[in-house]
Chain length 340, copies 4
Amino acid sequence: MTRQLQTAVIGAGRIGLVHARNLAHRVHGSQLVAVSTANAQRTAAVRQEFGEDVTIYPDLPTLLAQAELDAVVIASSTGAHRANIEVCAAAGLHIFCEKPLALSLEDCDAVIAATNAAGVKLMVGHVRCFDAGYLAAKQRLEAGEIGPPIVFRAIAGDQDPPPPSFADPHVSGGLIIDAGYHDLYLARWLMASEIVRVYAEGGALVDPAIGAVGDVDNAVVDFRFANGALGTLFVSRTTRYGHDVRVEIVGAEGALHVGYLRRTPINILTRQGVYHDVLPDSSVRYAAAFEAELQAFVDCVLHDTEPPVTGADSRAVVAVGVAATRSLHSGRPEALPPAL
Amino acid sequence: MTRQLQTAVIGAGRIGLVHARNLAHRVHGSQLVAVSTANAQRTAAVRQEFGEDVTIYPDLPTLLAQAELDAVVIASSTGAHRANIEVCAAAGLHIFCEKPLALSLEDCDAVIAATNAAGVKLMVGHVRCFDAGYLAAKQRLEAGEIGPPIVFRAIAGDQDPPPPSFADPHVSGGLIIDAGYHDLYLARWLMASEIVRVYAEGGALVDPAIGAVGDVDNAVVDFRFANGALGTLFVSRTTRYGHDVRVEIVGAEGALHVGYLRRTPINILTRQGVYHDVLPDSSVRYAAAFEAELQAFVDCVLHDTEPPVTGADSRAVVAVGVAATRSLHSGRPEALPPAL
Amino acid sequence: MTRQLQTAVIGAGRIGLVHARNLAHRVHGSQLVAVSTANAQRTAAVRQEFGEDVTIYPDLPTLLAQAELDAVVIASSTGAHRANIEVCAAAGLHIFCEKPLALSLEDCDAVIAATNAAGVKLMVGHVRCFDAGYLAAKQRLEAGEIGPPIVFRAIAGDQDPPPPSFADPHVSGGLIIDAGYHDLYLARWLMASEIVRVYAEGGALVDPAIGAVGDVDNAVVDFRFANGALGTLFVSRTTRYGHDVRVEIVGAEGALHVGYLRRTPINILTRQGVYHDVLPDSSVRYAAAFEAELQAFVDCVLHDTEPPVTGADSRAVVAVGVAATRSLHSGRPEALPPAL
Amino acid sequence: MTRQLQTAVIGAGRIGLVHARNLAHRVHGSQLVAVSTANAQRTAAVRQEFGEDVTIYPDLPTLLAQAELDAVVIASSTGAHRANIEVCAAAGLHIFCEKPLALSLEDCDAVIAATNAAGVKLMVGHVRCFDAGYLAAKQRLEAGEIGPPIVFRAIAGDQDPPPPSFADPHVSGGLIIDAGYHDLYLARWLMASEIVRVYAEGGALVDPAIGAVGDVDNAVVDFRFANGALGTLFVSRTTRYGHDVRVEIVGAEGALHVGYLRRTPINILTRQGVYHDVLPDSSVRYAAAFEAELQAFVDCVLHDTEPPVTGADSRAVVAVGVAATRSLHSGRPEALPPAL
């Protein structure tokens, strides 16, 4: 392996470009050499931004055949994750895959098996585990500042309508998996216990088009953890005021709140009252965390250590999301299958 | 009826004394003439505070026989509400009753029938409907500032262990009714829709003694409203940091948050960080609202108008609480019975 | 003296009515028996609100001749304070006088001498010393939580144009005394040291009419305390967003902030951002403190104790205000005269 | 000029390393090729961090003789700025110089003349002009959201004792220039008017060692702007709770507050109250702004445009700082000399 990890990004959508920029300019020990995209407009955008230093390939087989690589970042659509991971693993490349790993436990199991068989590393994009706010919460929990955690309480509010392709829950996994995934892994990670039962209520309360394709735009989900702790999540595609993501952990001796609603640290005071702006989306809120997670991936490859977020971690989250989505439709609490 | 409403308070516990002080000193058009309590210590406390202006009776029959009254405030234990209301109604007195009206729909129906038959007013202590914060929220919702409300999200956190008598859920109604009642009526009132289905998860997560008597100390409750809207409540007896009561309403066009965690408007900045104090309990947070609700009761009697909170309102809340408590034990969502 | 202190309010403007209500309905041990006002409209308002229980007199001599009184609350214009106090003291009445005691040290000295000679109590309306927020700050300072205080930093922002009569600085004392008085006494009280030098800059920056009568509408004032500590005050008649009053004390080991900009504990979140309302004026912010200060006055009369705020306290504040106002015009720092 | 600007950093202290990292890894169009430092420990640190890609020179003449450069970032001690700028300008290099440009107007004038004569660009490190918070404030001011600005109110609080060399005010320029410089340029920039008169009070209130060398550790400064507006600054080396930097602008129609006291967006709620952490220093608060300002410098060199912050801008700020420091000792308001 060369001293600079030779990396490629598969997919050049919004999140693919975020990863490409970090690999090219910010992550130490990484060199971005290739991007794969079949989309003409995105090809032009990558060319414009990265110039001749990065080669653009129209598909993954061509990229794998021609580029000299150590590792790939997979930022394709979720439906393509399994196929992409299997071929990259077969090519002996280390893999960072965007969340969720897949939409079914079967696909999760397959890619975990494929990367294990190939002896390559697999890390999944649980970006908030690299955010200073959640890390501070984790440390304070572990330090016992609020006693044993007994309740997880989260809001996952986003203002963006899903892109048209994501309107189809077979593509997105549905609201809970698509928009609530980050909070589901925060729940396991921060509470340090597996979720064993879920109950969900939801509806297409704002956007009838979402209901027409069989999805919901707002939902509440209740959790029961293995250690008896409780949880509740409100997940929404229609928080019109911005990107509102907050977590509260209640412990036996206190509580922790993590959240930041502002874009800039400014208050405006007028006759109408006092107001401040709101974060528009996750890319602003988690810019530093996106960089830190790729640094962690590059470091674990360079130093041959265990990835901080594994395929099994993502599989456990997908299991919760699938069960909660099932509850949405069954009208009953749903038990989780045993972990791998 | 005299110009000053002649009033008595039945029960001289913490909340009874709050009402007694307001009737004696703050509410216009009211005169406190009597208090009923069988407890020697409380008798002394009332004597000390109110002097000779207020007569103390050892029981309700004696009070009704000897005092000249227009109205009573019932602040006895919930289990005594039905009997107290029935005898006061029979005596032709207007009645303000602390929440909850009763612990069963049967008892609610009985006291509503009794007061209707007697032609006396019955108002129930939904104190937060008289708080400036919730009133402002209600007005802004009705003004359409956030569009139609689609999600109700609340926390009802208290730090106090229940008094020993309330450790028995047959006395208190259990955690959800006892500590969550205020949020249940806020849910109906602010969302302007009835709750039709509930699901609850809970546990004795902090205090095993609460579990030993068949109750829980922390619970999450999910609601489905008649208009399709969703709700979620976290209710706790063990928020060690203070009285943490907050409501968030999410609408199709924005959101409203109501809550105030501070006791005094002061921040302390030291090497350890920035901190502020926390409200210790509801009596500090709602002091003005307790006064306003009794004023509303006295006004509705003096001007012969409809009480702003009726027995039917409380019955509807009790129905939700009973169903949520049933869900806690059944492990299933529970549908609400039709309203009266 | 009767068990209920027989009290009268001199003047029935906005603040006079606040005091009248507290004496009539809220303060224990006080009975409001008379109000003095020459204004027909205010006479009608008092009649309407207090009915026959309170006698209204057209002038102070008539009131003193006819009412049986123990104490008076003087809420007349500042220019009339000296004459009113002198005649009430001569009548042997205990006196609560609104701030400022007078606009000159000479007048302050005269009324202090008059009340001393008559052996009656004189208390001045330093209302914020009775507010829970400032009291908590005082206690924490005295407990040493932030070490010795070294800097006082305040904002005294009000949105109200002065009433027409107050546009004349000879009537109001000018911006610094009129609108900054409360912060000047907070400075002395919280820092526990006398102010020995001041420097002020100001201008009629928003309202030319204020400049035309020789006053300013915005000013900054620097203080030097006897113990070497520093201070700075921004005082304004034109904070269009509401009543913005905040104090920060910096100590050698930390800092304290006191302030509350909200009217109700509610946040509105919309596409335009997050906003909350603002306190409109001091009557809302300090309602409980106005009641507590009159209770303290009544208590000190009933129990014959020292008033918690004396004439000498107000004289010291007037001295600072006069010196700061002089600096505004001299363009130089101004030393304070020695205390009495 | 090559496509990648060849850059060097003069001085490898804390701020020099910040600039070196940004030039090496983050700023587009820049390549860091050299660092100059005579300090053995810093030489080792630079070697460790940047490896063989960056050549380290023991002094500026050697660096200028051997390295092929387009531009330099001067992060040496302020006392060395003039000599360093003169020799770099003579070598035809574009110059980014840390603030303050110099400690005297004479030195400012000399370096402005030297860079003009050499035809090289000179930009000064007014880093907060590149921070999202202050930029948002500037834009809202220019959009007229609060009307014409009439009062500037700032706090510049830092917890760090000055490094030993800076204990000498002849080296640091004294508290107001050293620790207040950023707020002085924010004052001019945000108020869009020059400062024409200043008055300062200060003292060695916490650290007698600072007093012993003729400096103060805390000061308040009053400003008068050319357009009549007012200002007040509290500057401190002893805010023990962290890096507390805030600006409030009051306008004729409202106000703007800029500030952010937290390190992470987390609240801890315990029996002791609610607390959050505090920014430890400016490097955390302004990390993105430090990068943006160097990007602006590289861009203005590459595209041959005017630097966004000029030598004249810094000279105007130094003039205010010098006058305020003079006032501290004279006890009088001090007028500013005319601008260049």
